[in-house]
């Protein structure tokens, strides 16, 4: 019998359909992130797209467009996240939703 497979976040994102845009719809301003103690973006993003290695990096390609990072950054962090939805027709394409 097959079992419940433990999926990594990369496995999970790999299941989704994305229409990739060349331009990033979310960017981070590390001038601001540097002074941010909590860095709530790092673990609050349900897709774990924020990484910290000397500075904050964001990989917009797997974005699920929930908006959580912006809320936690601007209300609990140091407002380093510049956020918008991807351009029309781009980004995640939920086939179930």
């Amino acid at each position: 019998m097959r079992d419940v497979k433990r999926l990594s976040i990369q496995d999970r994102l790999g299941l989704n359909v994305f229409e990739l845009d060349k331009e990033a719809h979310i960017t981070v301003d590390n001038e601001l992130c540097r002074d941010c103690q909590l860095k709530p973006c790092l673990h609050s993003c349900p897709a774990k797209l924020y990484e910290f290695e000397e500075e904050v990096h964001f990989n917009y390609e797997g974005c699920l467009e929930c908006g959580t990072c912006f809320i936690v950054c601007h209300q609990m962090g140091n407002k380093g996240v510049n956020w918008s939805y991807p351009r029309g027709g781009f980004g995640v394409y939920y086939r179930y939703g």
Binding site: V4, H43, S44, L64, M76
Partner: protein, 423 residues
């Protein structure tokens, strides 16, 4: 002369219900959607309660693409090791169905077009324009005008902010959900959940799914798939450093959940925010040329045992449409005329229910509900069924369980009393 009578931004439930009602009344309307097709950006848990559709647009009930009608309601209290479930099975008077948004929203968009409305997908609205008595939208280099714009752009609502109607919801007023859609097959779901093909189960879970944080787990049976997810308060998640993706993995391995999804194949992973601040978080709903609807307006109601959003979205869209139809008849789109929308919302369940449950968001932020009480319920029920020789009376076992849980009887009674009044 404006290009349209009304422009709707966002092809979700609220946007499409408003588009459908306005187009049915013969208005010249445009629905603009940023996703490649309607529904492709939209996420639900989810189930829709259909009372609002039945009331306002009963003709839509005939071939609406539902998954399964909910005939079993389950509320489960989970600890790491155990689960206690309360189940109601049987028909309720009000109906509810599981839905897949890509199907539902695509179908609804088709209905808007059948009535003569235009649905333009793959277009992101970047800004709003307002000149004398016309209003409108900017998308790239295009400017399109209308007598009024219905803003239905979802919980983050960039346009609600641009229209000056609202600010961001506060982190404590928001929940964030993650969900896996798991393919099991129709027959297998029927067998595991003991239902017929058209019938399904809704299961909310409280306790270990969120590791004791305000929120919970959910499971809904679709026709061939299961929607399994976790919802938790945004502020709590951020301040505790919890990880929703890990919590969902944990839930999948829980002894209660595991046998239900075993052998299934995950086909999608989604995330979405939910406005759960209740009536106190509701922003301005009417502006010069604008009406705010659905999630953008914060129209969701979580009572802990019921979670509603799509019925609120549908009704608010319809009421916004009725307002625009009235304004069009009077040829008056002034702020005063548009304010009819608020009166209609007040006369319907939308604002009535939100007002009734005004204190629910605060009550439901108590951490006891998500750790102490699920533990207590499980300890108590386990004791009752645990025969190891000499058996104790029910009364003694309950007293012992409360003692073990280290909760004062006073606190327990107070929470029960408050909960029964507020929820």
């Amino acid at each position: 002369m404006a290009d349209f009578d009304a422009i709707v931004v966002g092809a979700g439930i609220a946007g499409l219900s408003s588009g459908y009602v306005m187009a049915s009344a013969g208005l010249n309307i445009l629905v603009v959607e940023r996703g490649k097709v309607p529904g492709s950006k939209n996420v639900t848990g989810g189930r829709i309660y259909t009372h609002a559709i039945e009331k306002f647009t009963p003709e839509l009930m005939e071939d609406l693409p539902f998954e399964r009608e909910i005939v079993k309601e389950r509320i489960s209290f989970l600890t790491d090791e155990s689960a206690t479930t309360l189940e109601f099975s049987g028909k309720t008077e009000g109906r509810s169905y599981t839905v897949i948004r890509e199907k539902l929203d695509g179908w609804l968009a088709g209905k808007v077009e059948e009535k003569g409305g235009i649905v333009a997908s793959g277009v992101r609205v970047d800004d709003l324009i307002r000149e004398e008595d016309t209003t409108g939208i900017c998308a790239g280099d295009d400017e399109i005008t209308a007598r009024a714009v219905i803003i239905a752009d979802g919980v983050n609502s960039p346009l609600g902010k641009k229209a000056g109607l609202r600010d961001d919801f506060k982190a404590e007023e928001l929940a964030v959900g993650v969900k896996e859609v798991i393919k099991l097959g129709e027959e297998e779901i029927n067998r595991r959940f003991q239902v017929d093909s058209k019938e399904g189960v809704a299961n909310l879970m409280v306790g270990s799914p969120t590791d004791g944080l305000p929120g919970g787990g959910f499971l809904y049976t679709n026709l061939e798939t299961i929607s399994l997810g976790i919802v938790a308060n945004v502020k709590e998640i951020a301040s505790h450093g919890s990880d929703l993706d890990e919590l969902l993995s944990g839930l999948k391995e829980h002894p209660y959940v595991r046998p239900l999804i075993n052998g299934g194949t995950t086909v999608e992973y989604s995330a979405h925010m939910i406005p759960e601040g209740g009536i106190r978080a509701i922003p301005k709903l009417v502006g010069e040329g604008y009406l705010l609807t659905g999630d953008a307006a914060g129209f969701c109601l979580n009572t802990g045992f019921t979670v509603r959003g799509m019925d609120f979205a549908f009704a608010s869209g319809v009421l916004a449409a009725q307002t625009i139809i009235k304004c069009s008849e009077k040829n008056d789109f002034s702020l005063k005329s548009l304010a009819l929308y608020e009166q209609l919302l007040e006369s319907e369940f939308v604002l009535k229910d939100l007002r009734k449950f005004e204190k629910a968001p605060i009550f439901l932020s108590s951490s006891r509900i998500y750790s102490l009480y699920p533990d207590l319920v499980n300890v108590m029920v386990k004791k009752i069924f645990d025969i190891k020789g000499e058996q104790e009376t029910l009364c003694k076992q309950i007293r012992e369980a409360i003692k073990e849980a280290d909760v004062s009887t006073f606190t327990l009674m107070k929470d029960l009393w408050k909960g029964s009044r507020i929820l």
